[in-house]
Amino acid sequence: MNKKTRQQIDLLKILVKKEITLKYKRTYLGFLWSLLNPLLTALVLFIAFRIFMRFEMENYTLFLLAAIFPWSWFSASVTMSTNTLTGNIALIKKVLFPKHFLILATIIGQLVNLIFALPILLVFVYYYGKAPALNWLYGIPLLIVVQFIVTYGVALVISMVNAFFRDMEYIINVSVGMLFWMTPIIYLLEAVPEKYRVLLVINPVTYLIQSWRDIFLNNTINWHNISISLVTAVVVLLAGTFIFSRLNRRLDEVL
């Protein structure tokens, strides 16, 4: 490996490490917050929908968690990426380095939370009398890759656009909140009346969340959903890279 590549890998490694270690550095619960966050969200949703609203569904906790952990990775990465460029002005204007590493580091930093959440999911899988199958070993990495591509593509666009158009941050906050309810995370896709279901079917995140659930709840890999997700992801990534590199030329003028 030549020196340049080694240096780039080291740089990414250090940025990711910084992302992970600094986040909770001065808190008492530290890294536990990463797990507590989705768990408590799931708890509240469980109380609201299973107990108060009496959703009749078996394995509802597992059903929720299997979607909420991957969703948290996506939503946290997207929300945080709005500020990855505008929050590092000194670095970007005074040091020459690949800017997209900041965005990669944000997403990888959040991915670590998902990976640490997998054992928790496993506990619930056993609790509900199920067991993981061998296809988890390639299904999970495959879904991580697909979700990584789409998240990276989205994050490239919004981090860059936010530098030129600061309203982006607020637009994203609202959109991520809306997307949460417009994706079958806390409810079943099939429970939605047929005439409205089209709204969910055109939402690419639906296929991703459904694929995660297929693995964790049924041990099946739904190639149909995964291929739709993958195609969308690649399109988003190409568009993201294009927009990022175009606006990158004028970035220094607006920071």
Binding site: L11, I14, L91, K93, K94
Partner: protein, 241 residues
Amino acid sequence: MITAENLWKSFPARRDRPGFKEFIVNAPKFLRYNKDCFWALKGVNLTVKKGECLGVIGRNGAGKSTLLSLLLGVAQPTKGKIEVNGKKTPLLELGAGFHPDLTGLENIIMNGVLLGHTEDEVLDRMDNIINFSELGDFIEMPLRTYSSGMTMRLAFSVAIHTEPEILLIDEVLAVGDESFQKKSGKALIELIKSGVTTVYVSHSMDAIKKICNRAIWLEHGEIRAEGESGKVINDYMNYLS
């Protein structure tokens, strides 16, 4: 070796964002590509030969820092061509990229890697960097516990140990207290004299005269004078008085 041909750089004229009402009423006007802009550099040509030190002088807002950002590559010229061959080390803002919650050691590694070294290379130089900074046991402490002088000393020590081929300096020749100022100034001058290609922006005419063989004088984004540094400085001083 640095060559720049006919460099132009514009910034959008900074207007405050319009209020919402105004935005709605005049939407087409704001959405049109904004042609008002401020030209920070207007057709600058320069060449710095290998091992040469070029001084850049001029009043505030003359385009000196913009020129350095273009040479470093963190900004793109609006028009014109730049060619810079060699490993660039910026001394534009000491400690850009330092993080207050990381320790001195961690910041050294991060800064060193950002400046283009592998982690192993930084670790090899670690002892030299720590010794030079004279920070002692503070090196294990988070940066937020440092005084501003100590932070500058750390940043300077990292930068000077990166074996630069091209050094871009913006007014940081001496940092820290008096004794450290002497030491850092001396180390930097040694580095420059050792054959590093340098572009040095400063308001200290003495420093420019001492270090640079050649200088340019920028005024409103254009080169007013260039040549032997003593002569350019004289022209500039006459103009100011």
